[in-house]
């Protein structure tokens, strides 16, 4: 019996081997996949102009390099062969300037895996061209040959593969978003603003002739999945840097990992405290601790909050939120009477409310996503209960979906945000909105979309200031000394080495009735967190 068992394993694995060999061998297939996915990414964009950003463009130019890499990874020591075979496989399919690149790669491998070790000197290839077909091998290793038909303002790249993930005409950037999972229905918006900014950078000519090749992954708001994706991006895709990851559950564990691998992460969400401990992570939004400080102070001073109950998602940031709130409210002679952790499958909101009622709570603060928060509010409404100062919560609530979900029951809810609120309508906000909605018109502008946008802006600016010599170390050093970066969305951002708490500003918004709808309206801010640690 068992002998048969071993044989069946045998057969299945054999079949699997054949199938995977058939697929793995096809570089063209991989290139096609790549292009296709890039195109999908670009479909949201209202591609402006003939030479403007289009996913297919970036994908086509990136494809041969990857195909070459895929082949040479397997072949190990013969990058030349790998690159040339990829050229022949990919150029008819992709129809771009790939042939030129691959021929240069024969002399000096321009593949991702080789690029890191070759240190960036040597072969150059043509600059970024948009959909321009060049005959195979004709341009050769001519450095900086300008290609006709390139996008306006696109300089030719001189610099080549200066670091991992950087080629003559592209920079690989990793982005991890929340596209599924418990907060998936609104979590995807978190990515879009940052991605819109990156696309805008590409459309306006890229980074000194290099296009940003943004690789996107999903973490389902789960650090495990996020780290899987991060490892894949770093170890297999060989990205240059991470940009604007707005998922706290991934950004937290990613911080030590980024330090270990010396990979810059520009524009982290900053919600979790661990992110401020990393040398290579640059958070742009404020921490949940700062939110708790400011909320507690505001509610104690303006609303006279004395007896507070907190319900929080049971993760380190949630616990830090409770602790921070408690510290500040005590300064105003208030207290956190009790706190209760919540999980997605079993929020326990009913008993939380019952307990709040019996404990004579005047303020309920939350560290929740809009989903559980909605449950909380609905449960409270069903029990005909509302604390004196209504509900309040961390920036996780500051979505337009929250008032939509809670309806009239959520009226009076105060949420923290780290940037100007939507109804403030500052020029900076309008500029931000214009860029984002050009690519993603239906986005729900929240704390995190603005954070992502700022992160992407900083990333783009820093990269541009590096010139052609793009390396991780130089990028880190540049951002480390960033001073007073104009975000236009409230606080300006400054980093200094060892001090990455760039944003300590909180705005508060409240759900108020406007007509028959409910919306978040500005009520206070900017409040600068005087209790924040200085690291």
């Amino acid at each position: 019996m068992a002998y048969l068992g071993s044989r069946r394993l045998f057969v299945l694995l054999t079949a699997g081997a054949l199938a995977s060999a058939a697929c793995g061998g096809s570089a063209a297939q991989r290139a096609a996949l790549k292009v296709q996915s890039q195109n999908q990414a670009g479909t949201n964009a209202a591609a402006p102009g003939g030479g403007g950003y289009s996913g297919g463009d970036a994908g086509a130019s990136a494809a041969p390099a990857e195909a070459g890499a895929a082949t040479s990874d397997v072949a190990g020591s013969s990058p030349g062969a790998g690159a040339s075979s990829s050229g022949s496989a990919a150029s008819p399919a992709a129809g771009s300037n790939s042939a030129a690149k691959s021929s240069s790669a024969a002399a000096q491998p321009a593949t991702r895996s080789a690029a890191g070790s070759s240190g960036g000197s040597g072969a150059q290839s043509s600059g970024a061209g948009a959909g321009k077909v060049l005959p195979g091998g004709s341009s050769g290793p001519t450095p900086g040959a300008p290609t006709p038909g390139g996008p306006p303002g696109a300089g030719s790249a001189v610099g080549g593969a200066t670091d991992v993930g950087v080629t003559a005409n592209s920079i690989k950037v990793g982005h991890i978003g929340i596209y599924s999972g418990p907060v998936g229905s609104f979590g995807d918006d978190l990515s879009y603003a940052g991605r819109a900014k990156l696309q805008e950078i590409n459309d306006s000519g890229g980074i000194n002739g290099r296009k940003l090749d943004v690789l996107v992954r999903d973490d389902a708001w789960d650090g495990t999945k996020g780290m899987n994706a991060a490892r894949d991006l770093v170890e297999r895709e060989h990205i240059f840097a991470f940009c604007c990851i707005m998922s706290v559950n991934t950004s937290d564990p990613l911080t030590p990992y980024a330090d270990e691998h010396k990979i810059p992460h520009i524009g982290a969400d900053g919600w979790g405290e661990p992110q401020y401990k990393g040398a290579w992570t640059f958070p742009v939004s404020a921490s949940a601790v700062t939110e708790a400080h400011m909320l507690a102070k505001y509610q104690a001073e303006k609303q006279g909050a004395k007896r507070v109950a907190i319900i929080y998602i049971n993760n380190p940031t949630g616990r830090a939120y409770v602790k921070a709130y408690e510290e500040v409210i005590k300064k105003f002679n208030g207290e956190v009477v009790f706190s209760q952790p919540a999980t997605f499958d079993d929020p326990g909101t009913t008993t939380f409310i019952a307990q709040a009622r019996t404990q004579n709570i005047d303020t309920i603060s939350t560290y929740l996503d809009p989903g559980i928060f909605t449950r909380l509010v609905r449960e409270a409404a069903a029990q005909n209960y509302k604390p004196k100062n209504a509900f309040s919560g961390a920036a996780g609530l500051y979505f337009q979906v929250t008032p939509n979900f809670t309806g009239p029951n959520g009226e009076g809810t105060i949420a923290a945000t780290h940037w100007v609120t939507n109804d403030m309508d500052t020029p900076g906000y309008r500029a931000y909105k214009a860029v984002v909605e050009k690519y993603y018109p239906k986005i729900d502008h929240s704390t995190w979309t603005k954070g992502g946008f700022v992160g992407a802006s900083i990333f783009g600016n820093a990269l541009k200031s590096l010139g052609l010599e793009v390396t991780r170390q130089r990028l880190k050093d540049t951002v480390d000394t960033l001073s007073n970066f104009e975000t236009g969305l409230g606080p300006n951002i400054s980093f200094s080495p060892g001090h990455h708490r760039a944003n300590k500003t909180i705005y508060l918004a409240q759900i108020q009735r406007s007509g028959d709808k409910f919306e978040f309206k500005y009520i206070a801010g900017p409040l600068v967190d005087e209790y924040a640690e200085t690291n």
Partner: protein
């Protein structure tokens, strides 16, 4: 006193949810020998269809939930006709329900316009209507009352069906002794579709009743289902009254632990296991070696 009444009400509320789910599972198990793991999944399907019709296509509320429940019943009939009937053993059918469960839970992601959805608001027309409980400083929403009423209705209805109707008689006969029932000529073909349709419909109904109170999502009903499954043990997967009793006991214990002993972390989640041990010890003390052991059943 106020707190006690509140505790009792909340306990009853969750007890209703657990019992509704648990009764559906016991019904299927005792008549077909299949553990219907898909119970939660069917609810997700029905719930999302109703939500789709109501919210996206503008159907009125009641036709929409009616359609959702009908889809669930139809799914039950189809599942019985094309899958359960083709499988030789209840064990295999149990696995089929597992597969169905995975399939349905994944379906929410596959349908593009439902996609990536965790929670959806699916209000009933009775939203924001409450009844104050005198002397308890507490009120209960209409949705919760409807849930409670449905549990009573279903319990009574099931009792009536089992005691007074031909199908019920056949169901009882099958559950008491499937072999004998078969030999006596009771047709499983008559009983099984009724059972599966009823159970799937019940699952759909459960979702419809829960969605206005919580949110409509694809995981929390599963979480409830797994918890409810642990209380079916109290009734030995056979007895409906004992199952309901177990469900209410569990929820009462959970709620009172959460309200009275909020600092004893984790105790409220340990109750299913603790109850299980108590039940086992009780059964063992009564001298029954195994809950169900046909190997030693008296001739």
């Amino acid at each position: 006193m106020t707190k006690l009444i509140q505790t009792l009400i909340i306990g009853l509320e969750y007890g209703c949810v657990y019992s509704l789910i648990a009764m559906g599972m016991v019904l299927v198990y005792r008549t077909t020998g299949v553990l219907n793991i898909a119970h939660g999944g069917i609810g997700v399907l029905a719930g999302f269809i109703a939500w789709d019709l109501n919210t996206l296509r503008g159907w009125p509320y009641f036709p929409a939930i009616g359609a959702g429940i009908l889809v669930a019943v139809a799914a039950g009939l189809l599942f019985e006709r094309f899958i359960v009937r083709r499988l030789a053993a209840p064990a295999l059918a149990t696995v089929a329900t597992l597969a169905l469960f995975l399939l349905l839970q994944g379906l929410v992601f596959v349908v593009p316009w439902w996609g990536n959805t965790w929670g959806q608001v699916f209000n009933s027309p009775f939203a924001n209507k409450q009844v104050a409980i005198p002397g308890a400083d507490y009120s209960v929403s209409w949705d919760q009352l409807i849930l409670f009423g449905n549990v009573l209705l279903f319990f009574a209805g099931l009792y009536f069906i089992l005691r007074r109707t031909r199908v019920g008689l056949a169901m009882r006969a099958v559950s008491d002794d499937p072999t004998a029932a078969r030999l006596m000529g009771i047709r499983q073909k008559l009983v099984a579709p009724v059972v599966w349709g009823l159970a799937f419909g019940l699952s759909g109904l459960t979702t419809m009743l829960l969605a206005p109170i919580l949110l409509l999502d694809n995981t929390s009903l599963t979480a409830f289902t797994l918890k409810a499954l642990t209380v079916t043990f109290v009734g030995g997967l056979i007895s409906l009254p004992l199952t309901v009793l177990g469900a209410i006991t569990l929820s009462m214990l959970e709620v009172s632990t959460q309200l009275y002993l909020p600092n004893v972390k984790g105790l409220s989640d340990a109750w299913p296991f603790l109850i299980l041990i108590v039940v086992l010890v009780a059964r063992f003390a009564r001298g029954t070696k195994a809950l169900e052991d046909t190997a030693v059943a008296p001739a």
